[in-house]
């Protein structure tokens, strides 16, 4: 009985008790959610265009952030380092297309998935060789990102909101809008979707795989850099960041692998829910750290109801 009480009543009482704290929890969740969504966006773009489940998205985030900071450490002014990093990401996209995707065209999904894990390892090795394994500090101020924090004081408590988090949220929104426009306005958008369905047929109608893939991977690279800046500003830049990428997986599944909307909704939902669950149920009842699995279980439950995720394309089953 008391157990039921602690599951169904106490958490809500807690929320009502300290609404400022609740708001803080939601805000924290929202900010992580934005980051999950950003990583997931990179995934979605690549998945849409090639059915490649790009495991390397996480490491691309680290790589982009490290390049940026690394360049700056070597005396490149911050505002020049950004375009230079983008150039590096472009070269990376071209390289990946040439060396990995082109030879593996039309292979089964799992092979391509594996290849992206290969890319991940390669980039980790490369990144560590070049930049070393140490933690680095994101050049937040140099990039003109405000670092202070605002404290709002509702309900007699306080909610502290970091300005860089706000910047992150705003930046993410802009990025997403740009992406949606790109995908829906252009014939590229259609070609990207076609490519995902059938490589060979896409080739046969003259869609240039290389161009699209380079483009898509480059855009993912841009998203990776944005993510890297935002996340790096929160937690420093190091290879430990790579594990965050795993969080993007449930986000994707929840939202649907090929849906931009899904990535955003999924990201925010998971970010907020896992935080709320952890604070109000996980810590008091389950010994904490439930964030390690909550997102996956949530996604699993949703998939049981909708096997293609909330916004994913229905899996075609016809004979």
């Amino acid at each position: 009985m008391s157990y039921l009480h602690s599951i169904f009543v106490a958490p809500f009482a807690d929320m009502a008790d300290a609404p400022d704290f609740f708001l803080q929890v939601v805000w924290e969740g929202l900010v992580s959610g934005v980051l999950y969504a950003l990583i997931a966006l990179g995934f979605v773009l690549i998945y849409k265009s090639s059915r490649i489940f790009n495991f390397a998205q996480g490491i691309m985030v680290v790589f982009a952030a490290l390049t940026l900071v690394g360049l700056h450490e070597n005396g490149v002014p911050a505002l020049l380092a950004v375009p230079l990093t983008l150039l590096v990401m472009f070269v990376l996209a071209v390289g990946i297309e040439r060396a990995v995707l082109r030879p593996l065209v039309n292979q089964p999904d799992i092979i391509l998935f594996m290849a992206t894990i290969g890319i991940t390892l390669f980039l980790i090795g490369l990144g560590e060789t070049i930049f070393g394994g140490a933690n680095k500090v994101m050049i937040t101020e140099q990039l003109g990102i405000p670092t202070g924090s605002w404290v709002v004081e509702p309900f007699g408590g306080f909610v502290s909101v970091e300005q860089k988090d706000v910047t992150a949220v705003v930046g993410a929104v802009l990025l997403v809008i740009a992406l949606l426009v790109f995908l829906n306005k252009s014939k590229m958008g259609r070609a990207i979707r076609a490519l995902g369905d059938d490589h060979q047929a896409a080739l046969s109608v003259g869609i240039s795989l290389s161009t699209i893939w380079v483009l898509v991977w480059f855009i993912s690279g841009i998203i990776a850099l944005a993510t890297g800046i935002v996340w790096g500003a929160r937690a420093g830049v190091s290879f430990a960041l790579e594990v965050i990428a795993l969080k993007a997986l449930p986000v994707l599944m929840l939202g649907g692998l090929e849906s931009v909307t899904g990535a955003i909704v999924g990201g925010l939902a998971i970010g907020i829910l896992e935080k709320v669950f952890e604070i109000y149920w996980g810590q008091p009842l389950l010994g904490g750290n439930t964030e390690a699995w909550f997102a996956y279980m949530l996604a699993l439950l949703v998939l049981l109801v909708r096997p293609q995720g909330l916004f994913g394309e229905k899996i075609i089953e016809r004979v």
Binding site: I111, I119, F122, L126, P307, I315
Partner: protein, 358 residues
């Protein structure tokens, strides 16, 4: 020239089911077994056993388990590490609760625990497909790992949260724990792996194996030819997780000697997946080749710079190693997406028709 198949006839279907329709293959296997059972034990050093042979065998076994699920039944799993963990913790609990229990019994039983976990997390596969299914296995991976950490009963409330393998004996020889001679451990692992491999070969070439492959290739069609998808998928999860669980028990008991929960993290799952894919999905042989490549190669590469006297720091070796492994994975996938086993099969085919090119 060595692969002449002319003159080898079969006169019954039974003979056609022989494992090696071509004699040369049987000889090759015999040769390998002689190496495994006689030559290595006579020549290899402790380091060879502990850093190469035993882990290669155990990883190959884990990959074999995964391969049944992913390669034969077509269900992608990213939770192998956690299922290995279930096997290991189950074995640990069995041994500590029933200290009298024979280690073989404990290992055999522990497989059932991971098989049960596998089936539980396999249930969603009836509805969820492809990469989406990966989420179910990821959920298993992270949830179980969390459980290994939080459920102190699992590690007997040990302060450090780690499990420590006790010394156990089999026929008067210490077989697990720090006291165990490495040769005994090697043989134990080798024999277990051989037996399970034989079982796996038999299952995969019979009716059950066929239903798995049918589900993998086209599950709708499989259903329409009368295969019960639920049975097929769940049996694949069962058998696969069973083998994976045993591999996990061996992993900790016959090799590592101690383990904390993080050992069974997603990296382990990925490593096993690498082995299965690089070796060749849907092949038994591939697991061994893959394990050699993924487990042994880094060890060997790691010793090269020192051996040739290159003044590279250990960290740099490690970085380069990571890079090389990444590049190798991509390289092998490009060379032969179906894995080393297929590469070998093609070579063999060429040998058979040698010296003609086609």
């Amino acid at each position: 020239m060595f692969y002449r198949i002319a003159g080898q006839y079969k006169t019954s279907y039974g003979a056609d089911y022989a494992l090696f329709p071509i004699k040369q293959d049987a000889w090759l296997l015999a040769l390998i077994l002689v190496f495994a059972f006689v030559v290595f034990p006579l020549t290899a050093s402790d380091f060879m056993f502990r850093a190469l042979l035993i882990p290669v065998l155990i990883y190959a076994l884990a990959a074999l388990g995964l391969n049944i699920l992913t390669g034969y039944a077509g269900q992608l799993s990213l939770g192998t590490g956690a299922f290995m963990g279930v096997g290991a913790y189950a074995c640990y609990k069995l041994i500590t609760i029933f200290p009298e229990m024979n280690i073989i019994g404990a290992i055999v039983l522990s497989g059932f625990f991971s098989a049960a976990a596998g089936v539980a997390f396999g249930l969603p596969s009836l509805r969820i497909k492809g990469f989406y299914l990966a989420i179910a296995t990821l959920a298993a991976q992270f949830f179980l790992l969390w459980l290994f950490q939080k459920w102190a009963w699992l590690y007997n409330y040990n302060a450090s949260g780690a499990i420590q393998v006790p010394n156990t004996q089999l026929f008067g020889v210490t077989i697990t724990g720090a006291q165990a001679p490495v040769l005994a451990q090697y043989f134990f692992v080798l024999i277990t792996v051989c037996i399970l491999t034989a079982f796996a070969i038999n299952i995969t070439r019979g009716r059950i194996g066929r239903t798995w492959k049918a589900v993998r290739d086209m599950d709708i069609a499989a259903e329409l030819v009368g295969i019960n998808l639920m049975k097929a998928k769940l049996s694949a999860f069962f058998v696969s997780s069973y083998i994976v669980g045993i591999a996990g028990a061996l992993f900790v008991f016959l090799w590592r000697g101690a383990a904390e929960a993080d050992l069974f993290d997603i990296q382990l799952s990925f490593r096993v997946l690498f082995i299965a894919i690089i070796g060749g999905l849907g092949s038994i042989l591939g697991n061994y080749l893959g394990a050699l490549l993924i487990v042994a190669l880094p060890v060997i590469i790691g010793t090269v710079p020192a051996a040739v006297g290159l003044p590279i720091s250990s960290a740099m070796v490690e970085h380069l190693n990571t890079m090389i492994i990444g590049a190798l994975i991509i390289g092998f996938l490009i060379l032969e997406p179906h894995g080393l086993a297929r590469l070998w099969a093609l070579m063999r085919e060429k040998l058979i028709i040698w010296p003609f090119p086609h």
